[in-house]
């Protein structure tokens, strides 16, 4: 027979379980239950008004024949161009910020500010910046360079670049902080050795800094891809109808439209599950590939 534990320890156990129970229960009720419910819904046709009706795989068959699923998927993937752009800008910023200059923390804060701003507010701000006739961007281009700017949000070929521009601006601060942390963890001995060998600044960047930051590149890419697959709010604000010719609609926007505009909850669930599987597979591939290029100390 095991020795009986002292009562104060048992009491602590109970408290521990109690504290653990709250989030676990919360997750079960608000996380797992809706998940299972939506899995079931994806096999039904439900308009919120009449009871769900079981339709088997019909929704999934339709997903694969739906032009708009492909279009929104294409848009979503296209907008991922913002990830490498953001990485380059963030890395350059991080290198610049990684100096013991006076007031550098203020600069870092400024670049980080967009990250903590609510995305809706940020989108509204950009709506004003990107306005064709009165926007800050086009006005500035016109008065400084005499260039007539494009219709950023109203033109099917410009709206995606606009979204990327905004995404890069909004995300670069977060990535920069990650890179800063990475830069500071690189031991100065590498650079000293390289200097002895006569390496120039570019060689140091290319052959030491960038390779030694691979685990951060990896993290940024994985999180960026997942985030991009899930982007919605800025589209909802800046292109409430999906943009001209539906050229700004992301998959999540399409899910939202199906669920809350057309009230096809079943179909929306099916698209959501397909998206979930896509994200899972893409992330899995990234992890597999990471073994070939991510360097860990």
């Amino acid at each position: 027979m095991k020795k009986r534990k002292p009562s104060y320890i048992r009491k602590e156990y109970i408290w521990a379980y109690l504290f653990v129970a709250a989030p676990v229960l919360g997750f079960l009720i608000f996380g797992v239950a809706p998940l299972l419910y939506s899995a079931w819904l994806s096999f039904t046709s439900w308009d919120l008004v009449t009871p769900p009706e079981f339709v088997g795989f019909e929704n999934y068959v339709e997903v694969f024949h739906d032009e708009k699923v492909y279009k929104s998927l294409y848009n979503t993937v296209f907008m991922m161009l913002g990830i490498p752009i953001g990485m380059v800008v963030a890395l350059l910023l991080a290198i610049m910020m990684n100096r013991p200059l006076k007031g550098i923390s203020y600069l870092r804060t400024i670049y980080y500010l967009p990250v903590i701003s609510p995305i809706i507010a940020v989108s509204l701000l950009w709506q004003w910046i990107l306005n064709q006739d009165f926007g800050l961007l086009n006005q500035t281009m016109w008065s400084w360079f005499g260039i007539e700017g494009p219709n950023w949000l109203g033109d099917a070929s410009w709206i995606k670049p606009s979204m990327i521009l905004m995404g890069v601006w909004g995300g670069v601060g977060g990535t920069m902080v990650l890179y800063l942390a990475g830069l500071q963890s690189i031991s100065s001995t590498y650079y000293e050795a390289a200097e002895v060998d006569g390496a120039n600044a570019f060689q140091k960047l290319w052959l030491i800094t960038i390779p030694l930051l691979t685990n951060i590149h990896f993290f940024v890419i994985v999180m960026g891809v997942i985030g991009a697959f899930q982007s919605f709010s800025q589209i909802y604000v800046l292109a409430g109808d999906g943009g001209p010719e539906y050229s700004a609609a992301t998959v999540v926007f399409y899910i939202f439209e199906n669920a809350f505009k057309y009230f096809n909850m079943g179909y929306a669930s099916a698209v959501a599950w397909v998206l979930g599987v896509i994200i899972f597979i893409v992330t899995l591939i990234q992890f597999r590939l990471s073994k070939k290029w991510v360097y860990n100390d």
């Binding site: 027979m1 156990y13 109970i14 109690l18 919120l48 109203g154 001209p244 057309y262 096809n264």
Partner: protein
Amino acid sequence: MKRKPSAKLGLIFLLCFGMLLSACSSGNNGSGSTTNGNAGNKEAETGNKPQEQVKISFMGHGSPQEKEIFMKLIKSYETKYPNVKVEYTSVPPAEYNQKLSTLVASGKTPDVFYVSGPQFYKFAEAGTIQNLQPFLETTELFQEDNVWKQALDRYRFDGTQLGQGDLYGLPKDVGPWAMAYNKTMFEEAGVELPPAEVGKWTWDNWLDAAKKLTKDDNGDGKIDIYGGANFTLEGAVWASGGDFIDYGTGKVTIDTPEFTNAMQWVADLRLKHNVTPSPEDEKALNAYSRFVAGKVGMFPMGPWDQPGFWDLPFEWDIAAWPVNPATGKAGTWVGSMGYSVSSKSKHAQEAFNLAAFLALDAEGQKQNYELGQAVPNLIDMAKGEFVAYDKAPANREVFLDIIEDYGHPPVEFASKDTKWIDTMWQEAGKVWDGRMTAADWAKEMQPKLQELYDKGNK
């Protein structure tokens, strides 16, 4: 030894569950007015009050201004029916349908709420809303001959089809989409004013006037003032004798020559004649703002726009829509929202009374039009004091002509699923910016739209 803690653990879990569940159900009590009504019920049974105290919920949408008007109207209702308390919620218009459907799905449908078009159809079919006919027969407020037939018919449903049978809703308003014009601008440019009587002005006259009004004010090569804006495709198509869809047969008819010619004409206003802003320009600054800023000569407006125009620094009025010279017909749409009563309402009579009061009570209708929100639902009032009302626009009878004569319900009104028409508008950009002719575009789009319509509506 081991059992004791786990039993306790189970208890804790149970407690947590209980807490969560009770939190949920208390949330129910708070927001669901029906339960409050229940409490009132019991009170009435046990006590000896002559009339039970009843609480009903009412949900609508609109501007802050509209909300204020409704607060006033609801107060008058509560004075008239002192045993009823109305819980009023006003939701931003863009989120309204979403919120309503979620409430319906979770069984918390408000007792009275706005509903129109596709959603009305769906709700009527699914039995979410009450047949109001039995109630209407008992109220003296409702004189069928004195309410716009064009408005009432939107809320009829016979079990399968819209437009006939019993009333499942009462019109909140009728919204004739009229052609407003900047009178001062016309006079300054020496252009003849558009007439109020339909048939005296054709598309050619409209275009002519628009050309004379369009100008580049500061000489930078960009047009600053456009003669017209938003000449609606719907209006042009209907004036040409075409339509978007034939609801009788369920056939999308955008590939007819009537449709494509009308569409091309609208597109050419910008592409060939450059008298209207492009859809992109529209996005940058919409027609409403342009008109208010004095940068557009003619553009369509609804009655609800009136209060916003009463303080403008220039004179304005409304004119009849120009007719297509080939057919001699004009067209535009008449919007409408309706009040419906939830079929699950525990206080259907009181809920109906509220809907009827808002839709039909003379005092309420008077307040509504005086505040510039709508054309009265009551025909005698509309043709009498409304037309004679001394605020702009002077040609108020244009509103009535549109309702009676050449106004159509909006295109989507009888589609349960509107994906097809939304897709049409999304893809129409190819015609508006001249990448495709209307005819080519329609040939390509028709099968796609037909498929979408069939999928969602059959």
